[in-house]
């Protein structure tokens, strides 16, 4: 049954105010020219209708709490409920961000501790918690790299090198920072082509952005050499920490030669994805970039915790948020990190890697084509369905939809772009072996069905609230908002 739009359930007058003071009297000081003449087109529904509508909508979602969700590069691990509950204690939730520091020692101590933990796991010497997602962390990182060069009078360094497998935010960020992007290719085993790198570095090089393990699900073995090449050319190294889950407690980005790292707390540290966010893209840097860290930072002053701001950090790249980043997300990550502890963190990377290699082995043994068969998987791995697609016409997208019918969220599809018909599969450490076995079986079943009856696979999904959607229509006949004047326009009748 289709859930009607909340607007379709609206009836004018449903929420007529009973105890409202006369709005007119309250606003009789405002000149008429400023007053809204039209009613804002918000729905008029009862509290029950709202609760029922959004409860029903929620049930239309797949989520970690309901389904195995091996979405590569997204680290869809269990989001501990304790983190949510503790971050929502009234003592954190019901406070204005501009409460004086003396009234904020509890929250400041948590944030300060978190900064220290992040230093420990990256090997870096300075941290700023303010970036609100990975992409903003990248922005902060590249902006710091730029500021560093400029501070040394080296204004010509405007090129950012990214491997072809890089996540789209990397090149997009470089552009946001006013840099030019130079792409370098990946070798046959998934490592960066160091020769190609050597060709492109020079006095114009601001730095390189790398993910390690890369988005290809393999550890970049030549990282030492890469660092030497880039540093040798005067550039700096940026670590995109989206894949930190793979090496947590096993290798430190600083030791690999990186100068700055962002960490997606909503991946490695299990803060919720919330259907698209909020996340957190905290950044950590070596000492030479510390002066440029975005503010505010939590420091210590007069025996208490304090915000470090413009006057403390005159070289800072500045502020990136109106107050203090996504503070509530930071608290959730802090709770999770304290629950894990040092040993728990190593277990995270250990079992994430175990699960990925196990599932990769199961699929390889079942005849699926693993993208880098001579490599260990990191916490994720890629299979390519190119052969199956050629033989049966059943594509990676068809597999994705058929998995939905079998009760699994699909892996990431068609990313990274350089592996054709690929699925990027990240099981995470919080899934049990039984879940992986069932997923592998589902993949085999779909493959077998593809061979027997490709058309049947292409009909999937059959069990979801809607079946395959017309993306072309969505982009051509734009329908981005509900129009009360013409409810029939979108088929919402």
């Amino acid at each position: 049954m289709r859930e009607p739009l909340i607007f379709e359930q609206s009836r004018p007058g449903r929420r007529a105010p009973t105890h409202a003071p006369a709005v007119a009297a309250a606003t009789d000081d405002l000149p008429a020219a400023f007053i809204r003449q039209t009613t804002a087109p918000l729905p008029e529904v009862s509290e029950l209708q709202v609760v029922r509508h959004f409860t029903r909508l929620s049930q239309l979602n797949f989520s970690i709490d309901t389904h195995f969700y091996p979405l590569g590069s997204c680290t869809m691990k269990y989001n501990p409920r304790a983190a949510n509950k503790l971050a929502m204690l009234p003592g954190y939730l019901d406070r204005h961000p501009l409460e004086p520091e003396g009234h904020s020692q509890g929250v400041l101590e948590n944030l300060h501790d978190l900064q220290e933990l992040l230093k420990a796991i990256t090997g870096m010497s300075g941290v700023s918690l303010t970036p609100m997602a990975g992409a903003q962390g990248e922005f902060a990182g590249v902006a710091m790299i730029r500021a560093y060069h400029v501070s040394r009078g080296d204004t010509a360094r405007t090129q950012i090198i990214v491997p072809d497998a890089a996540h789209g935010t990397n090149p997009a960020t470089a552009t946001m920072c006013g840099c030019d992007v130079v792409e370098i290719p990946t070798g046959p085993d998934g490592d960066v082509d160091v020769e190609a790198l050597r060709q492109v570095v020079g006095p114009q090089t601001a730095g390189i952005m790398l993910t390690n393990p890369s988005t290809l699900g393999v550890f970049e073995r030549q990282i030492g050499e890469i660092a030497a090449v880039v540093h040798g050319a005067g550039g700096l190294l940026y670590y995109d920490g989206a894949n930190l889950n793979a090496i947590l407690g096993r290798a430190l980005p600083a030791a690999m030669g990186f100068d700055v790292v962002h960490i997606n707390l909503h991946k490695t540290f299990s803060t919720p994805h919330g259907g698209g966010g909020p996340g957190s893209g905290v950044v950590a840097v070596t000492s030479r970039l510390e002066p440029f860290l975005p503010i505010p930072i939590v420091g210590q002053r007069n025996g208490g915790y304090a915000w470090l701001a413009e006057s403390d950090r005159p070289q800072s790249i500045g502020r990136l948020s109106g107050f203090m980043g996504n503070a509530g997300i930071l608290l959730r990550a802090y709770v999770y990190m304290r629950l894990l502890g040092a040993e728990g963190m190593r277990r995270v990377s250990g079992f994430a890697t175990l699960n990925a290699n196990y599932l990769m082995t199961l699929l390889a043994e079942a005849g699926f084509c693993v993208a880098y068969p001579r490599r260990r998987a990191s916490h994720e791995f890629i299979i390519s369905l190119k052969d199956i697609a050629r033989e049966t016409g059943v594509t990676a997208m068809d597999f994705a939809k058929a998995l939905l019918d079998r009760g699994f969220h699909a892996p990431t599809t068609y990313f990274p772009l350089l592996v054709p018909e690929c699925l990027l599969i990240e099981p995470t450490e919080s899934e049990a072996r039984q879940e992986l076995d069932a997923f592998a079986q589902a993949m085999i079943d779909i493959r077998d069905l593809a061979i027997r009856d490709a058309a049947e696979v292409k009909r999937a999904p059959l069990t979801t609230p809607v079946r395959r959607l017309d993306d072309v229509r969505a982009a051509k006949q734009l329908d981005l908002t509900w129009q009360s004047r013409d409810p029939a326009r979108h088929g919402h009748t």
Binding site: A40, V45, N61, G106, A135, A172, P278, A410
Partner: protein
């Protein structure tokens, strides 16, 4: 072993399938010199009861005061249903809705959100959120620079009384692309229309108009909009969304309406939360939609002709367009949008109008209570639900003493706007009662050493 389900037997069996002896072996591609054995700076794990105790104790160390402070974040009532529903696992633990068929809940909700925000601002389309008000403003500037057909400039005119932190954030974010903010002079608590003359003949991509402005003041939106449009600039509206329940929406400003609206979504059901997460909203005219940053959800049909929703216009975004994308934003503030959509549904237009009106009425009551104290005056009007008081003495020590008395007395304007004198920005939302206001009055009188009637 928190959050890891493997039994020792299972681990052994899985390693056997992989064909290796230990988990350690799985890391054998990491060069030995890069490996670490442990994390000395990280303490041992805590049990859930222990972390609970720690977090509860630290929460107690935060002091919460009676709040008369706004300055960009407002303490409104949040109906209990908002977060009880928003934190349901199916919303809380889902990713960005890439697999549309498995994400219709989130997608329909975002579509409803887009409709509400477009409606509130009086514009055609909305995206699915940006990080916060400050970054939304910066993105609006970038968008305007890209979209302004009649301008080749990378400069945006901004009013002096636009939120000063937003201006700082925008500077951080725009510096790389050489987009420049040029300040419009103000007087009497709002943009000085006569100062426009100084910019006549200059090329700007856009003019930003803030409503209410940072001082709570109401700018001459119609005149400013028409002035900018007449000179080929786009108009960016920076608004408080609660205010738009009562005040003329950007889409109706001047003769043609603003082109882009942006703002901080926090007042719409998001807890103050010591600073975040909040969310930024951005809406625009239909013609500009392809310049919009961030996710957008659209309606479409499935293979059986049933209506459904999907992410659309993705060619604007980083995962498709990479270095040519409209923005680098990927993860946005989805769960906050979930809460805001529930909030707006619970309140409806009537409810939101009431919140706005009651907040405004309370601030008026506050102003009249506090200006009854000798030496305190309220120089600027009209304002909406927040305004400036001038005190007979420097603000900082007064606020500090009020804080000791449990009152968060407002925002000290003297650093950002020294020209205003001993000025403090105050706000009383619908949650402040008459006794609260009286408590502030007594405390302020006390601090100022002025006798007032009890």
């Amino acid at each position: 072993m928190p959050f890891i389900p493997h039994t020792p037997d299972e681990t052994a069996a899985m390693l056997a399938v992989i064909g290796t002896a230990s988990i350690e072996n799985l890391f054998d591609e990491i060069p030995a010199n890069l490996k670490v054995d442990g994390l000395p700076g990280v303490p041992a794990g805590l049990s859930e009861p222990a972390i609970t105790r720690l977090m509860v104790e630290r929460a107690r160390r935060n002091v919460s005061s009676l709040c008369f402070l706004g300055a960009g974040a407002y303490e409104h009532h949040i109906p209990a249903a908002v977060w009880e529903i928003a934190t349901r696992g199916e919303f809380y633990s889902a990713y960005t809705p890439y697999q549309a068929e498995a994400s219709q809940g989130t997608l329909q909700l975002i579509y409803e959100y887009q409709s509400m925000l477009a409606g509130l601002t009086g514009l055609d389309v909305s995206n699915a959120s940006l990080y916060d008000g400050a970054t939304a403003f910066a993105e609006a500037c970038l968008m305007a620079v890209r979209a302004a057909r009649q301008s080749r400039s990378r400069r945006v005119l901004v009013p002096r009384f636009l939120n000063p932190v937003w201006r700082k954030v925008a500077r951080s974010l725009l510096a790389g692309q050489n987009v420049e903010l040029v300040e419009l002079a103000a007087s009497g608590g709002r943009t000085d229309l006569s100062a426009l003359a100084a910019h006549e003949g200059e090329d700007y991509a856009a003019l930003c108009i803030s409503l209410p402005n940072f001082l709570g003041g109401l700018e001459a939106v119609d005149e400013l909009t028409d002035w900018a449009h007449a000179r080929g600039m786009l108009v960016i509206a920076a608004c408080n969304p609660t205010a738009l329940a009562l005040l003329k929406p950007p889409g109706e400003w001047g003769s043609k309406g603003a082109d882009i609206a942006c703002g901080e979504g926090q007042p719409l059901g998001i807890p103050l939360s010591s600073g975040g997460p909040y969310f930024g909203f951005i809406t625009c005219r239909q013609a500009l939609v392809r310049q919009m940053p961030g996710r957008i959800v659209g309606g479409t049909l499935d293979v059986e002709g049933r209506p459904g929703f999907t992410l659309t216009l993705q060619a604007r975004e980083q995962h498709i367009r990479r270095s040519k994308a409209t923005s680098n934003i990927c993860t946005n503030q989805g769960l906050m949008v979930t809460a805001a959509t529930i909030y707006l549904s619970l309140l409806g237009s009537e409810g939101l109008r009431r919140v706005a009106a009651e907040s405004h009425a309370n601030t008026r009551a506050l102003v009249s209570a506090l200006t009854s104290i000798g030496g305190v005056s309220a120089p600027y009007s009209p304002y909406f639900h927040e305004t400036v008081l001038t005190l007979p003495r420097p603000v900082a020590p007064v606020l500090q003493k009020l804080a000791t008395a449990g009152i968060l007395g407002g925002f000290d304007l003297s650093a950002d706007y020294p020209e205003l004198g001993h000025a403090v920005l105050v706000c009383a939302t619908e949650l402040r009662t008459a006794p609260d206001i009286e408590a502030y009055r007594q405390a302020l009188a006390n601090v100022l050493g002025v006798a007032v009637a009890a």
